[in-house]
């Protein structure tokens, strides 16, 4: 069941994220009026100078923030329902640390198989896929909170190699890797950008169409999923694969972005009365997109030297602590 109030909340959040999107393009070192932004967005050209600034600086990174933030929130929501654990998220399962190792190899390894940004993407994706495969193969026996411990261990395991690479790298390489690790929506490679956005967009559509029904039953337990006629092995594979690809894509393009994927789904569950994933998913999307754009605006327009992950931690950590405390009060174990 979906409460009418929740539909209004969703519409409000969709509008909010669109307004923030326009606002994100409009503010910056040179501010562009809302009207100009809108007329550019709807295909009417204004002065060519303005157009260039928007295209190169803000337009792409705001689109990136919208999709990356929204997707991470959606992925986090699916993972929490999938593992039946409110603390699951893209970062906690070790998928992004797999990507980190791949990117570290691409940037700092003494040997070069592939070069440039292409190597970063390929190895980052490869690293996360290896972790996904490992998670898929052990998930049959290890469930719930233990799987998160496995994810944590995988992070330690991969970071051992990352630190080895860091020790042997030059200052320039090290700086490049650390900057990637801070996370940013501004690392845009025009040659790949639209393919990446298109891939994320198509996968999101797949998630919105294919996942809600499955997840609505999945939260009742695997037994009920089987009982309702789903082939759990297939469903599990589908979910982990789609999510794995999404996490990998976002992580190699924006760095390992923390907290959006854990805190936003919590917030969505708190705001909505409905537990139907067909409204939880889009609500998470627009909330995540809004938060990402706000964080990016703060980064670009203020003088604070805090990276993206820092800003997100300031927001996310309190939300997560609040959820744990609230859960403990109700007597539910996390």
């Amino acid at each position: 069941m979906i409460a009418r109030r929740d539909i209004l909340v969703l519409v409000f959040l969709a509008l909010l994220s669109f307004i923030l999107f326009v606002f994100g393009i409009s503010v910056g070192a040179i501010s562009i009026s809302f009207g100009d932004v809108l007329s550019i967005l709807f295909g009417k050209s204004t002065q060519s100078d303005t157009w260039t600034i928007i295209i190169e600086e803000r337009y792409l990174r705001t689109i990136n923030a919208f999709f990356a933030g929204g997707t991470l929130a959606v992925v986090g929501l699916v993972l929490q329902s999938f593992f039946r654990n409110p603390l699951a998220g893209p970062g906690v399962l070790g998928i992004s640390s797999g990507a980190s190792l791949g990117v570290a190899v691409a940037i700092m390894a003494p040997f070069t198989v592939l070069t440039g940004i292409f190597a970063q993407y390929t190895l980052g994706l490869l690293g996360s896929f290896l972790v996904i495969l490992l998670l898929i193969s052990i998930n049959r026996w290890i469930k719930g909170v233990t799987l998160l411990v496995v994810g944590l261990m995988l992070s330690f395991f991969t970071s051992a190699f990352v630190s080895m690479l860091l020790n042997n790298s030059t200052d320039t390489m090290m700086r490049k890797y650390i900057e990637w690790g801070f996370g940013s929506f501004g690392m845009i490679q025009l040659a790949y950008f639209w393919y990446y956005i298109l891939a994320v967009f198509l996968l999101l559509i797949f998630v919105f169409i294919r996942f809600p029904k499955v997840l609505n039953t999945w939260v009742l337990g695997e037994q009920m999923l089987l009982e309702s006629g789903y082939k759990t092995a297939k469903v599990r594979l589908m979910i982990l694969l789609v999510l794995g690809v999404l996490i990998a894509l976002i992580t190699v393009h924006c760095g390992p972005i923390s907290f959006i994927g854990i805190a936003i789904p919590q917030l969505a569950r708190m705001i909505l009365k409905s537990t139907n994933h067909s409204i939880l998913l889009p609500t998470s999307l627009f909330l995540g997109a809004s938060l990402a754009i706000i964080a990016d605006i703060i980064l670009r327009t203020t003088e604070i030297a805090m990276p993206l992950n820092g800003i997100l931690a300031l927001f996310g950590a309190p939300v997560i602590i609040y959820v744990i405390v609230k859960g403990a009060k109700r007597g539910t174990n996390i």
């Binding site: 609505n216 037994q223 009920m224 009982e227």
Partner: protein, 231 residues
């Protein structure tokens, strides 16, 4: 009618039970008894198509299937576990409505008619006022009723229950078994495993026993002898 032929179940290379032929008539209300580990849950889950430990043939309302091969009867057969713990604060109403989730479109939003049907079902047990309460906050008895309601709501013809009396107090037990009796009178075929043969004998139309690796059908009147030999 359910007809089972040459069924055999084994777990970890040990044979659990076998039977050459078993017939369960429509509208039967059968109690399944046997020692711990005899394979009661295995049998129920196999009938629901959830378990791959059983081999053999099943004829369900005229259609023949082979266990572990082509037997996926999710539409007509429903397995009801001892207890479930949902993730998130799903409401009682949504929980029962989820029984027909697979028949809806991708948004999985139940219609007004569907909601009314479930509310009517809840009203039969004076539970309509708690329709929006979270499932996790209901009492064990209410949760058990909700589990059965979910299977009834989705029109399953065969209900397989794992220890329906567990976690329940005397009055809730009575409520649950009386409802099962009523459902079997309406034509549902019901098999439930139980550790309380005496209680079950009040309601059941027959017994299924798993003893010495054989699963058999027994008459209710022979209950005392059965209990003596098994336990």
């Amino acid at each position: 009618m359910i007809n089972l032929t040459n069924i055999q179940a084994s777990a970890r290379k040990r044979q659990l039970f076998q039977a050459e032929e078993l017939n369960v008539h429509r509208g039967a209300l059968l109690a399944l008894i046997g020692k711990n580990g005899a394979g009661k849950s295995t049998f129920l889950k196999a009938l629901a198509g959830l378990e791959s430990l059983v081999s053999g043939q099943i004829n369900l309302e005229g259609t023949r299937y082979t266990f572990g091969k082509d037997y996926f009867p999710s539409k007509s057969v429903s397995y009801i576990p001892v207890k479930i713990v949902p993730f998130g604060a799903i409401s009682l109403l949504d929980f029962v409505l989820s029984g027909k989730s697979t028949e809806r479109n991708f948004l999985d939003v139940p219609s007004q008619i569907e909601q009314q049907e479930v509310k009517d079902l809840l009203a039969q047990f004076n539970m309509e006022h708690m329709a929006l309460d979270a499932f996790e906050n209901l009492s064990d008895g209410e949760q058990k009723l909700a589990l059965i309601m979910r299977s009834v709501y989705r029109n399953a013809d065969v209900l397989l229950l794992d220890e329906p009396e567990s976690f329940l107090d005397v009055s809730n037990r009575k409520l649950v078994f009386e409802w099962l009796k009523k459902l079997s009178d309406q034509g549902k075929t019901i098999i439930f495993s139980t550790h309380q043969p005496d209680l079950a004998a009040h309601y059941a139309s027959g017994f299924l026993t798993i003893h010495d690796g054989v699963i058999r059908m027994e008459n209710v009147s022979k209950l005392n002898d059965i209990v003596q030999t098994i336990f």
